[in-house]
Symmetry: C2
Subunit: 225 residues, 2 copies
């Protein structure tokens, strides 16, 4: 789902000072990376100290949704509007060069700056939670019980605008200097990929309900992955 | 390589307030996670704003090494001793529950707080850079050209003590309430794993040097993975 909003805004925070040729600032490039990933690293400042916490997310149009317990220190800080940075990183391969210094990693990453908005409208809250489940396992949200009133009350849902954002991409072979090309060592790229193994049924499943997993579990793959 | 230092120190920052049963505070658990991963997310504070940047790392005993250009804003801030948070996250699987709220992810993560030390001793600097290459591709560092004087001068190497650190681990099936076990939907875990595809040789390789990749590339896998 590509949204039709204004382009991503470029600010001093999202401008790439190093290797600007790796930058991507168009909404489609940023959304493709966000849609392939499902774990982000959220950074906040806690009394002068940075904290970086991994969590799942969902995307709906130009919003990223996060969720968590109302008892979580991180969620409370985000709900209070503390400045945040959300980073999503996909590792595509290892770049084996002929010198130690030119070794690298092929990756795609997105960095979003901003503040979260605490979702209070019950309908948007339910939509945000469903968006997270659906983002991690497309096809899943409608198959399972939505949150009840107690679960909604115990959960914070946060919306983050995908506005001040940028992507950074490295791909392709190593970039060794001409004088190093004759070094007698194999050089190239080792592509990496995430795969799903055999699904493991929950042993708590009552015997009468035991059946094979649905097709979206058996054939699980990330969009674009 | 397991070091024999004091145990990891527990502080108010590394204590887990939520789900403390998921915490691991022993050095061996923390080192195993750091050794299986190779990309970390580094958080710093930049004029009240958090920044979270992905980068590769290496571990040598109780130190984590990072590197980057002396021209990088992030590296300069780290070199100046700004407080940092380094987070490493390994995703082991998706937890498909019977309710949206109980969906989860099986993961292992490590969070390290502290400050970096700018490595100035040329020998430690060379060791730190080699440790990063060797961490990402075990067996590689000795096969390629070490950094020359110019490359060393253009590179910051940073050492971070693995002292104020904690790990967090979720594993196993979904944790649905008894009242939800009868819901007629498949539930369980979908294990995820990173695999390497066929290595892609660098097209810049001179014809006389074209040969198959070494065994550490052909049989690449993460320690413990």
């Amino acid at each position: 789902m590509t949204s039709h909003r204004d382009p991503i805004s470029s600010t001093s925070r999202t401008r790439l000072r190093r290797k600007p040729d790796r930058g991507r600032f168009d909404r489609a490039s940023i959304e493709r990376i966000l849609d392939e990933g499902f774990v982000c690293h959220v950074g906040v400042v806690d009394v002068q100290t940075p904290r970086v916490i991994p969590t799942c997310y969902g995307r709906a149009a130009d919003l990223l949704y996060l969720h968590g317990s109302t008892g979580s220190t991180l969620l409370r800080a985000l709900a209070a509007g503390t400045p945040l940075c959300v980073t999503v990183t996909l590792v595509d391969g290892l770049v084996l060069a002929r010198t130690q210094r030119t070794h690298s990693v092929n990756y795609r990453s997105v960095v979003i700056y901003g503040q979260a908005r605490l979702v209070s409208d019950p309908n948007e809250k339910a939509r945000g939670l469903a968006a997270i489940v659906e983002h991690v396992v497309p096809g899943r949200a409608a198959d399972v019980r939505p949150p009840n009133r107690r679960e909604l009350a115990e959960t914070h849902v946060l919306a983050i605008g995908i506005d001040e954002a940028s992507a950074k991409v490295r791909s392709g072979p190593p970039l060794d200097g001409l004088e190093d090309l004759e070094l007698p060592v194999w050089a190239g790229e080792l592509p990496l990929r995430t795969v799903a193994d055999e699904p493991v049924p929950d042993p708590s499943t009552p015997a009468v309900l035991r059946a094979g997993p649905p097709v979206y579990v058996r054939d699980y793959r990330r969009p674009g992955g």
